[in-house]
């Protein structure tokens, strides 16, 4: 019985050691997002609370905590309350398999990439539940849009993952990183990296694909009826998902915790820092896209997903596998 408790305590300690930094960085990343956005538009952005406005997100969080939670009278109350909880939980559980360094991962499971993919495909339920339970027109339309969008872009992300897996020969995320020691996959699979980036934008409902919460048409989409802490949970889950997509992109294409070149000043920096740099780099790209690109129309979004990305990434699967087969580079024989 003692061994169970000690296992439990060490695991809880490890989980907290992972989750607290993730939550803090989610708060910081919101600040970064707004600062980059403001920088592009020649504004100042949040700069009042704390040095450089760093504590703006904390102030916002405090505001959300003290706001009243309003549950609409005609809503389906249980599902309404569950929806933000589901979103937030799913956004956080996927961090368990992200490798921050060699042997520096909470759960080093065999099917890590499938786990990430499965959990991110569950993310759609938080949104559908929120939209449906609100029992109101705008949230429902937003939820339907969002669900269709996430399901479509998941298909292309799945095919892109197959491309990477063909080069690795394993579903384990640490193996995927170790396979990139000589060459990051962003170089041979560059078109796939671009498509992954755009699909990640669509998957996380970021601009220019933020149709589920297009404020000119749908108020705030599935979040319309939410207030206070429940709204903040949706919002935290969304940003945690964005960070997760950036982490996934850096693990799949940018060599995870590996340093770009294996020379002294670079490889002396510990692995986790490199992963964080790469995540930040991808996130700044996300923020720049948000600041510069106008919103897509819904039919264009669907057309892009199904008629351009899916056939192209399928074609690339054939290309990658035939290349590997022809030059006898297939891994794991």
């Amino acid at each position: 019985m003692d061994s169970y408790f000690s296992i439990l305590f060490t695991e809880v300690y490890k989980i907290l050691f992972l989750l607290v930094p993730v939550l803090v960085s989610v708060a910081m990343i919101v600040w970064l997002d707004r600062r980059v956005w403001a920088f592009v538009q020649k504004r100042r952005g949040p700069n009042v609370v704390g040095p450089f406005g760093l504590f703006q997100s904390l102030a916002d969080a405090l505001k959300y905590i003290f706001k009243e939670i309003i549950i609409p009278a005609s809503s389906n109350k249980l599902v309404f309350v569950l929806a933000p909880v589901v979103t937030m939980t799913l956004a956080l559980v996927s961090w368990a398999v992200i490798p921050f360094g060699e042997d520096f991962v909470l759960a080093d499971i065999n099917v890590g990439i499938l786990y990430l993919f499965a959990v991110s495909s569950l993310g759609v339920y938080g949104i559908i539940m929120g939209g449906w339970a609100s029992n109101s027109k705008y949230p429902f339309l937003g939820a339907i849009r969002s669900a269709a969008q996430m399901v479509s872009y998941e298909v292309s992300i799945g095919v892109i993952i197959i491309n990477v897996l063909l080069c690795v020969g394993s579903l384990n995320l640490s193996d995927i990183v170790m396979a990139q020691q000589n060459l990051w996959f962003v170089i041979p699979l560059f078109p796939m990296f671009v498509i992954f980036f755009i699909s990640a934008l669509a998957e996380t409902n970021r601009p220019p694909f933020d149709l589920p919460e297009a404020e000119a048409e749908l108020v705030a989409g599935y979040q319309t009826e939410y207030s206070g802490m429940m709204y903040a949970m949706f919002w935290l889950g969304e940003y945690a998902n964005i960070l997760l997509m950036c982490a996934m992109g850096s693990v799949l294409f940018l060599g995870g915790w590996l340093s770009p070149i294996d020379v002294f000043p670079f490889n002396a920096i510990p692995g986790p820092f490199w992963l964080i740099f790469k995540i930040l780099f991808l996130f700044i790209l996300f923020a720049l896209v948000k600041a510069t690109v106008p919103r897509y129309r819904y039919d264009q979004l669907m057309k892009l997903g199904w008629k351009i990305f899916l056939p192209f990434s399928l074609f690339y699967v054939v290309l990658t596998s035939s290349f590997l087969l022809y030059f006898d580079l297939l891994p794991g024989k």
Binding site: N110, L114, F117, S121, L122, A147
Partner: protein
């Protein structure tokens, strides 16, 4: 082992209770949510017996895609009202319950045959020449069997799914007249002289457009 059996019983309890709730709950959308819970706990059971690949595929395919379509259908078509009618005595010509009973009986007997086969003919299992080892991850061993011995069956089942998908699209597709479609090529290749028309407008008469 204690923790293992505790988790097994928790997951199977959730699976059974949610399976019952799928049929019992009044609201159809709730039924679908319980179905999702059922899928998730079944995939947890898969992972517990070491079949992590199957468990994850179960999550991705059934929960991530199939159940979303279920939810779409249920939310859009308003099945909730029909479900009440099926079980009420007012609705005549109710053929759903006998058919449902028949199907569930058939599935029940099939399960008895399969499980009875395992129980009373254990040599049936050995006839499958799959050597299971803990060295190889089960993703790899499934792939080794699926893409060598059963490649034809695998491809044929994929073809059947493709045909079903195309068939469904063909059946539901209808050409509608007067739909304006966007053509990027047309938009980009538009020149000034076909887009702009200079007209001499007469005083107090104006110009008729689209005449």
């Amino acid at each position: 082992m204690i923790a293992h059996s505790v988790f097994f019983y928790i997951f199977s309890l959730i699976a059974i209770v949610s399976a019952v709730m799928v049929t019992v709950s009044k609201n159809t959308v709730h039924s679908v949510f319980f179905l999702i819970l059922d899928f998730i706990s079944i995939s947890c059971l898969f992972i517990m017996i070491g079949a992590e690949f199957l468990g994850m595929i179960m999550l991705i395919v059934y929960v991530g895609a199939v159940a979303v379509l279920f939810l779409f259908v249920v939310m859009m078509l308003n099945v909730a009202e029909q479900k009440g009618q099926w079980f009420s005595s007012r609705w005549d010509g109710g053929t759903h319950i006998p058919v449902g009973l028949l199907v569930s009986l058939i599935i029940f007997f099939e399960l008895i045959i399969v499980i009875g086969g395992w129980k009373y003919k254990p040599d049936l299992l050995n006839s499958l020449s799959i050597n299971i080892s803990n060295e190889v991850t089960n993703t790899r061993s499934i792939g080794n069997v699926l893409y060598t011995d059963y490649i034809l069956l695998f491809q044929i089942s994929g073809m059947i799914l493709l045909v079903a998908m195309i068939g469904a699209i063909v059946l539901t597709y209808r050409e509608r007249a007067g739909v304006k479609r966007q053509s990027y090529v047309k938009q980009i290749s538009r020149e000034r002289d076909e887009g702009v028309d200079l007209v001499e407008a007469e005083r107090n008469k104006g110009v008729k457009i689209d005449a």
